[in-house]
Symmetry: C2
Subunit: 144 residues, 2 copies
Amino acid sequence: MQARVSFITLGVGDVARSRRFYEALGFTASPASQDAITFFDLGGIVLSLFGRAALAEDVGVPVSEPGFSGISLAHNVNSESEVDEVLREAVAAGAKLLKPGQKVFWGGYSGYFADPDGHLWEVAHNPFVSLDANGRIILEASAP
Amino acid sequence: MQARVSFITLGVGDVARSRRFYEALGFTASPASQDAITFFDLGGIVLSLFGRAALAEDVGVPVSEPGFSGISLAHNVNSESEVDEVLREAVAAGAKLLKPGQKVFWGGYSGYFADPDGHLWEVAHNPFVSLDANGRIILEASAP
């Protein structure tokens, strides 16, 4: 298996509500989106919003109450002030602020917000990793 | 906020065990990895393995029992037979097969496996999307 992820699918309670949230955050829905599923092209990888119960049914697992998903998505930016700015944008779009931007033990600066279904996003500045012109991570051996 | 994901972090019960699982699947751990965290460079995006309790603590949310995470990661390939092959590789590496490869309602062919902590991976062939030479998704307006 190649080391690749093609889609990240978030199970949500209301696809239209979640689509509005991510659009308010600045994401543009793909024309390939349908009522039951929204696609956001992240550049070679796709973020999908799909009904939580439908996703569980698709996988064939019981749909339990949302608890701690055990997964976070991080959005890295180039400065501490940009972390604060993105967190403010997220809250303005309807996110719940879980942790304001702050210096963290690994030497960076980060905060967390939850989307309308509680999916966890970290907004981080990591001085040990670089972002290329397209915002793609350049992971170096010296990164913590 | 730009439409980007920088890191996908999976909270796991035992970082070393999960690292061995993903290495057995064919992923190569970055030299930036440490005992407490493993990084896999997916090409501009990083898959991290981090302790589940440590991740919950980092976010500042209670660490509940793993239930349905509400998130799946998809690994798209170019043919139905490749789906079956990757599912076999995953099982050989210690994954639990949740759904064997099969034709699915949206016109493709897919199956699911769970990693040692229950994180959900779909292996899919979608005849409506293309993969570039690096395996990156090309999302077209006509994709379902």
